[in-house]
Every structure is written in C-alpha cells, then in structure tokens.
C-alpha cells in the first residue's frame, strides 16, 4: 500500500474529527448541560437552514431572500394543526412539513416567473405576503402572536430537561436528515446536474441538464426541511408570532451570511459557517448593534476577496474533499478529486 | 509637409512594436511580434481566424489581460498608459464587429469619438464628406442602419478623434462586396491626410490591394512580411495557411 500525502492525511484527520463530533452529539444529553443542549439545538436548526439555502443558491442558482417564509409557514401550520385542529402534536409535525411543501408550489410558480435579481427580491415579497396573511389569520393571535398551550408543550416531555433533550434529538435528527438528504441528492443524477450547474450553468444546459426541472425539484426539496425547522423554532421559543416566526433577519439574512462566510457550493461550508456564526455571536453579544455590523462587514470582505468562503480558502491549499460528493469516473484509484 | 514625401524606411516609425506577446489567462495569443507602422502608410495584417490579429490590436490600446514587449508610439510607451490616455494621444481603434452603441443616434455615436480624442483637421464636415449617408441619417438610432453604414459610423467615430494611427479590425466582415469596395476607396484618402493605418483582414485581396506593406500572422507569430508587389501571391497563401 502506498503511503499517503500530507493532504490525504489531513483530510482523513478532519473526517475523523467530524465523526467524533457526530458521536459526541448523539451522546449529547449525557455529555452536555441543558443550556448547552439548547445551544446545540439552535445550532442544528441553523445548520439545516444553511444547508437548504446553500443547496438552492450554491448549486441551483436560486438566490432566495425569502426562505423565512417557509420557516414561518411550518411554525403556523404546526400551531394550527395541533392547537386549532387538535391533531396529535407528533402528527402535526409531519402535517406541518406537508403543508409547507404544498404552499411552496404556488410560491414557486410565482417566483419562477422572475429572473435573477428580480427573483431574489421577489422571494422577499412573497415572504412578506405570507407574514402579513399569517398576522391576519383568525385564531393565531394576530400581529402579536400567541403562546403554545401547556398541554402541547408537555406532549414533548413532562419536565424541562426531558423536553430539552427531546427537542435536542429532534434538531439533531433534522440536521442529520437534511445533511444526508442533501448529500444523497448531490450524489444522484439530479446532483450531477446541480454540480454541473454550480460550475457552469450555460455549459450544463447545453450538456443536457434540464435546468428548469432541477430548479423546481431543488426548491420543493428544501420546503419540508424548512417547515420542520419552523416547528423546532416554535418548540424552542414556545410561541408563534409573525415577526419572530417569519423573521428575515434570523432565518434568512444570518443564514446567508453563514453560508457565504463558511463557503457556498460545498457541504463543508455551511458547517464551518454555522460554527463561525456561533463563535462570533457568543463573543460579540455584548456589543449590541455592532454585532450585525461586524457580521455584515465580514460578509462583504469575504465575498469580495474569496467568494468561496473559508472552505474555498482551505481548498486553495488542499483540494481533497472532507465530505466526498464527487463522482469518480471508472475504478477508484485514490481519493483525489477532479474538482479544482 | 505630406507624410508621403518621406519614404517609410527612413522616417522614424510612428508605431514600433518589439517582441509583443499577449496572454489570456494561460493562453498565449501572440509570440514575440515585431512590427512597425509609419505615418502616411497603410500596413495590412492578414491571417486566418485565431492567428492573433485582434489580440494584437487590443494590446495596442491596452484592452488585454496581460502582455509583454515594447510598444512605442510617437515617442510614448503605450504599455504604461490607459486606454483613454492612448486614445487622447492619437491611437484610434475601429473594433471588430463594429461595436456601435445601438440606442444612441448616429450623431451621438460620432460625438463620443469627437469628445474623446484630439482636435485636428478632421471634423464632422470631413466625416460627412467621406461618408455622406451619415449626415442623412445623423438623428437615427444606430441600430437601424445597415451593416455597411454601421461600419462607416464606426470609422467616422474613430476618425473624429483625429488619430495619428488608425487601427481597423476586420472592417469588411459580414459586408457585401460593393460596400467593402466603398470602404476601401476611402481608406487611401484617409492615409493621404497623413494618418498611419493598420488594416487587419481575413480577406487578403482588398487589404493587399491598398497596403503599402503587409505582415502575415500565423498562430500568433509573424510568418511573412514585405511589400505586396514584391511577394508572389502563392508564397503569401503558403504563409497564410502555414503550408
């Protein structure tokens, strides 16, 4: 067996670290405090959002500034199903995901009439419409929202620690599911098309990739995950409200910053970005309005100097993927990818 | 003093290019080109598609990614100048594909040239004298003109900068033979006013007919140069195609 290059060793080490971290997360409740579990729940929720936005923007060339719409829809659908329609809370979760998926269809139909920059702001307008409508729905608390009734909350665990652990595992499952689903998608035929689109959309089109179909599928693919994230957010905050459930800042803008800083167009990027985001937040939280200012400034700097983010910076020196999504042509010889 | 009273060999050349290499990323479009043009002479550059002719012209006005070599124009170092400075110094390019501004009128297209260049003997009156159809259509948007008329606008725009050196990139491309003939009747008149002209063409016949000297480009290098009268047509064809 031939010896490995430093690059290969490094990639292996990183993969091992990733595995260890994953195992630690699975053993979470036994390793971490309740506070830490809550933080990790938030982490996994944001990571899911980042993975979804990255899929659309980094591969399918759909720059959405409106994904918070589906987070809010998930939240309100969950509330509506479980509180108003008296559906079992666990069933309501699945129902919320389904409703988010269904509402993504007309949204998509409208948005896809627009192109490029129009599309981005168009998604924002669509999100605003959902926000305003949610605020007018009878029974949902209007403009100021409403809290989750105690019985519903207790359905996820009688004690605070029990609930925290349950929700933690839900978020972990969500993040893992989002991750695996995206990974599987990228390794599939659709994924081949998406990677081709990421690298060169025009060439992809002329090579036979059905751009329109890939875009539609990608957009709809992300909807249920976003909806589920909305449910989790509601379970953590214990209430729904238009401004909070449909918060553009929390569920879209911060997510965009995360993906761009971490590295768009890769699977490693959103993970890195979410970690950096939490580090910045924990360290800068005392500085009030300066925190978003710094975040904004860093994003600008990143996109202007290294558009592929921190992961892109890493890739300049080390071309091996830590999370392999590339396809090998013919018999695998070694792990070196063909990607630049 | 007419520029033609001094022979091209003894006067200091208006444009002197030494070892020009042009690069687009990793691709090398020209290799160590040596070339010179004098005032009041027409120099023709012929060559097949991809021979490096357009890249050469663009390098002269500094619209390429990277280049190396010496570019001297009227005592100035073109390599150290920006495109607006070069135009103001007296080098005008008639770009490949005409590249007019479609939503501007004929007059507005011409005016841009007038504003960017130097003052000199050429004014709107002179341009309308050379190309009468332009004065008839001065207020029409450039995009409604025929190909030949658009080429005249492009030439007029370049001429209104009062250049000392006029670079014409494939002005006959896509035009009917009659129209090409009209254009090439005007070229010697422009030369007679003292301007040095570089004519880049794929069509050998026309350009060699008006040229005082020619260079043949092959795969980015000068494969042959001389006077059209001194060289056999067959020899030229061989160096054109690299046979």
């Amino acid at each position: 067996m031939r010896s490995m290059s430093p690059a290969e060793i490094l990639a292996l080490v990183l993969r091992a670290a990733l595995m260890l971290a994953a195992m630690a997360c699975v053993a979470g409740p036994w390793l971490f405090s309740l506070n830490d579990l809550s933080l990790l729940t938030e982490f996994f929720t944001l990571l899911t959002l980042a993975l979804m936005w990255n899929l659309l923007a980094g591969y399918a060339d759909i720059i959405s500034v409106g994904q918070h719409a589906f987070v809010g829809i998930g939240a309100y659908a969950f509330y509506g199903l479980t509180v108003l329609a008296k559906v079992d809370p666990w069933m309501a979760i699945a129902g919320a995901m389904a409703i988010t998926f269904l509402l993504a269809i007309p949204a998509m139909a409208v948005i896809f009439r627009l192109r490029m920059a129009y599309l981005a702001v168009g998604t924002w307008v669509v999100a605003e419409v959902f926000l305003l409508v949610a605020g007018k729905l009878p029974g949902f608390g209007g403009g100021s929202g409403v809290s989750l009734p105690i019985p519903i909350v207790k359905a996820f665990g009688g004690s605070l620690s029990g609930r925290t652990q349950t929700i933690y595992f839900m978020s972990l499952v969500l993040a893992v599911a989002a991750f695996l689903a995206t990974w599987a998608l990228l390794r599939s035929r659709i994924g081949l098309g998406l990677t081709a689109m990421r690298d060169n959309e025009e060439a992809a089109g002329s090579a036979g990739v059905n751009l329109r179909r890939v875009r539609i599928l990608s957009f709809l693919w992300t909807a249920p995950f976003l909806g589920l994230a909305g449910v989790l957010v509601t379970l953590q905050k214990l209430r729904i409200a238009p401004a909070a459930s449909f918060s553009i800042m929390d569920w879209t803008i911060f997510i965009i910053f995360i993906v761009v800083i971490g590295g768009i167009g890769s699977l490693e990027g959103p993970i890195i970005g979410t970690i950096v985001f939490f580090l910045l937040r924990e360290n800068l939280s005392g500085y009030g309005a300066w925190y978003p200012i710094i975040l904004g400034a860093v994003s600008i700097a990143v996109i202007l100097t290294e558009p592929r983010g921190l992961w892109g910076l890493w890739r300049r020196f080390n071309t091996l993927e830590v999370i392999p999504v590339s396809h090998r042509i013919g018999a695998p010889v070694d792990d070196k990818t063909i990607e630049p | 003093m007419s520029a033609r009273s001094v022979s091209a060999e003894t006067a200091a050349p208006l444009l002197s290019v030494e070892k020009l290499s042009v690069y687009y990323d990793q691709f090398r479009a020209t290799h160590d080109i040596d070339l010179c043009v004098s005032a009041g002479e027409i120099v023709s550059i012929i060559g097949a598609n991809g021979a490096g002719k357009s890249s050469f012209l663009k390098a002269l006005v500094r619209q390429v990614d990277r280049s190396s070599g010496v570019l001297r124009f009227a005592g100035m170092d073109l390599a150290a100048m920006s495109t607006p400075q070069i135009v103001a110094a007296g080098v005008a390019l008639v770009p490949e594909g005409r590249r007019l501004f479609p939503s501007l009128t004929v007059f507005e297209n011409l005016r841009i040239g007038w504003e960017l260049g130097r003052r000199g003997p050429i004014d709107y009156k002179k341009v309308y004298e050379w190309f009468p159809v332009l004065s008839e259509r001065a207020d029409q948007p450039a995009r409604v003109l025929s190909g030949g008329q658009q080429q005249m606008v492009a030439l007029g725009r370049a001429l209104l900068t009062n250049p000392r050196l006029l670079l014409c990139d494939e002005i006959s491309l896509g035009l009917a033979p009659v129209v090409i003939g009209q254009l090439y009747e005007i070229i010697p008149k422009i030369r007679d006013s003292g301007i040095g002209i570089v004519v880049v063409e794929q069509d050998i016949g026309r350009s060699l007919a008006v040229a005082d000297r020619f260079y043949c480009f092959l795969e980015g290098r000068v494969s042959l140069s001389g006077r059209p009268g001194d060289v056999d047509r067959d020899v030229i064809m061989q160096h054109y195609f690299g046979l």
């Binding site: 720059i63 702001v121 300066w290 400034a297 | 607006p84 590249r99």
Partner: protein
Amino acid sequence: MLVTILNLVVQGVLTGGLYALFAIGLSISFGVMRFINIAHGDLIVLASFLLMTFANAFGLNPFVAAVMMLPAAFIFGYGLQRVLLQRIVGKNVLPVILVTFGLAIIIQNGLLEIYGPDTRKLSGGAIEVASINLGGLIDIGVYPLAIFLTAVATLAFLDFFFHRSAIGARIRAVTDDPQAAALIGLSPARIYSFAMGIVMVTIVIAACCMSVWSNFDPAIGPSRLLTAFEAVAMGGLGSLWGTLAGGIMLGVAQNFGAQFDAAWQTLAQHLLFLVVLALRPQGLFSKG
C-alpha cells in the same frame, strides 16, 4: 360613493409621486449598472437622518438643507460606487446581493447605534397642512401635490439629461456595451460613478420629501426598498416614466387596502406587484 373612490384614487396618485421618487434612484442603478442595490431603502433613511442632523444643527428649513446637501450627496454616491460598488458591477447576482445586503445591515444598525430606535419627523411648516379644494368634491393636500410635481419634474429633468446631454449619451453608451465603451476609450468605472452620484442626489430629494410627510426610524429602510423595487419592476426596466406609473399603481392600491387596515395596505401593494409580474414579468413599459 363615486366621490369616495375618486378621492382614494387621487390621494393614491399623489402618494405614487413619493414612491416614484423612492424608485428613481433604483431605476437608474438597475438600468445603468444592472444591479439591484438592496441598501437603497436604507440609504434613503440614512439621508433622512443626516438631513435632520444638518437642518437642526444650523436651524435650517429641511427643504433648504436638502438643497444644500445635494452636492455632498453627489460626491458620496460617486465615492461609494468608485470604492465599493464598482467591485460588483457585471458580476453574478450573489455578490451583488451579499455586498448590498451587508451594506444595508451596516447602515441600519449604525443608525440604530447613533440615533436610537425612536421615530422622527421633520417639520416643513405651513405647507404641511395647506390644502386645495378641487371642484368642491375633493381636498388635496398642497404638500402631497408638491411632492408629486417634484417627482414629475425630477423625471423630466433626468429624461432630458439622459437623452439630450453629452454625458447622458456616454452613460447610455456604457449601459449599451461597457466593453465596447472601454475599447474606444470611455471609462465605465467613472461613468458608473457619475451615475451613482446622480442616484444619491435623487435619494436626498426623496428623503427630504419623505421625512417631512411621515415618520421615519432606522428600521424602515427595507420597506422603502420593496416599494421602490416594486415600482421599478412593474414599470419596466429602462423606463423612467414607467417607474412613475408603477409608483402610482402602488399608491392607489395601497390606498384602497388602507380602507380595511394597515396590514391590507401593505398586502394590497405586494399582491398587485405579484399579479402584474406574474402576467408580465418584464414590466409594463419595458424597453427590453
């Protein structure tokens, strides 16, 4: 009943003048430089706060102060393009959104830090309450009418400027074909910066009109952007007068919506936009 509807329409049209003013700058930056400046609304709010500080510091009437600010506005716009926005010209939509969104966040939070979250309003004097009576049927506020006329005058001036002046021709040339412009010796960077200077001037005009008419605070930038964007998109790319039409449509729709409640006011505007764009994605008066 008819009078009520007529009143709503007229008030809506006048409001549309303000929206057109919001939108003009966006129309220029999108039409010329081809990017959507997401910070556009926040720049309007920034201009409003700066106008307030300047006017208060020197005890000036806001209109006078605004006129005095115009040259500085031009220089600011020129510099902003030259230093920052020029780096995203011609690029993919993602860097554009990132940079302008980042800029928007910085401006919003910077204003929050410096001025706090309270709403402000500038006083324009007697003109604010004056009104004219039309045919005994409707009362029109003199100030809204003045804003509408300002919008029309600004549009007319810009139309003239872009189509009759030499520098307007250069701007249109670079808009047509930046590469060809560079080939023959124009500097797209300088021309874009000039255009951005004009954009900032229109932003100050819009800010002045807005800050006297209604309240403003650091957080309203995004809603101004959406209004401006919708007016431009409905009007059509490249059409300045289309922007006025778009603004008027938004104003009228909003006014009808407001009869129900505040949420319907905004919903009406967004729904109108989505319907128009769904039917005619390139806008109503697009020049293609």
